[in-house]
Amino acid sequence: MLANLHPYFIAAIGGILIGLASWLLWWGLGRIAGVSSITAEVLSAPGNPDTWRWAFLAGLIVGGCLLGQGLEIPSLPTRPLSLLIPAGLLVGFGTVWGSGCTSGHGVCGLGRMSLRSLVAVLTFMAAGMITVTLMRGAA
């Protein structure tokens, strides 16, 4: 069924699910579904008795694993450590320092009409685009 739909339409449906999941956490728990903030919080206080963060991350990881197997993801050969490690360090450091990522600032922050989040989104989008352009030039 999905195969007959335009890929952009499927992408928008996926986006709607992400928006609904973010709203669910706000409506139910009064919490922002910011993946970087939630992850950093469980890392720095793993024994916090309010375990909703662990439950959210478990859903995300288990869901990604089960559903990702069903869809045929074009297999990506593992890229060099010299690329993956600096990239991961930058994403981890930057999202904690900037208080959010694509979900917290992007999906939730823009939905809450936060100017702070809009500035963050425009900044990381621009930085990502410049990086890809420079990498393309270097390749």
Binding site: A21, S22, W26, F56, G59, W97, S103, R112, T123, G128
Partner: protein, 163 residues
């Protein structure tokens, strides 16, 4: 996961423990479903979006892949409506005593500097935190990135604690 959830049951600040955990787990599942369905767990789709100069290669959108814009557009349409509706219709969350809106509103250097560093890392590998975690058990590529990301988060946390 270093402590048993049962051992902490009596310390829980909320009376709605089962509801909270069930809802948070479900939200994580639906979030993952959205990421997988929209292709965002595939870093090449994300890099194809960030490769904005490819838009000049041929008739619009050229070799540029606008998929991520549709994902973000769909998600933000829902949150714009749903957050406004929630603010209007409900006083407290279903399973909590209060809404925890971010308290900070000023635009400062940590915000812009952090977002810029994040953007560079995002542009290098094509993973942001959500998709990286959702793909971590399926690909070694995502797993290595995720491990480095967790280290980066810890480094920043300790850096912030010292200052």
């Amino acid at each position: 996961m270093s402590t048993s959830p049962l051992a902490n049951a009596n310390l829980s600040p909320s009376p709605h423990r089962a509801g909270r955990l069930g809802l948070a787990f479900s939200a994580g599942l639906v979030f993952a479903a959205g990421l997988v369905l929209s292709g965002m767990t595939q870093p090449l789709k994300v890099l194809g979006f960030l490769d904005i100069t490819a838009v000049t290669q041929g008739p619009f959108p050229g070799l540029w892949d606008p998929t991520l814009a549709f994902v973000m557009g769909g998600a933000v349409c829902v949150t714009l409506l749903a957050f406004a509706w929630t603010q209007r219709m409900t006083q407290t969350p279903v399973f909590a005593n209060a809404f925890h809106a971010p308290a900070v509103s000023q635009i400062d250097w940590p915000l812009v500097g952090g977002a810029a560093l994040f953007g560079v890392g995002w542009g290098l590998a094509g993973y942001c935190p959500g998709p990286a975690l959702a793909a971590a058990l399926l690909s070694v590529d995502a797993l290595i990135f995720t491990a480095a990301m967790l280290v980066g988060m810890l480094i920043c946390k300790s850096f912030l604690r010292q200052n």
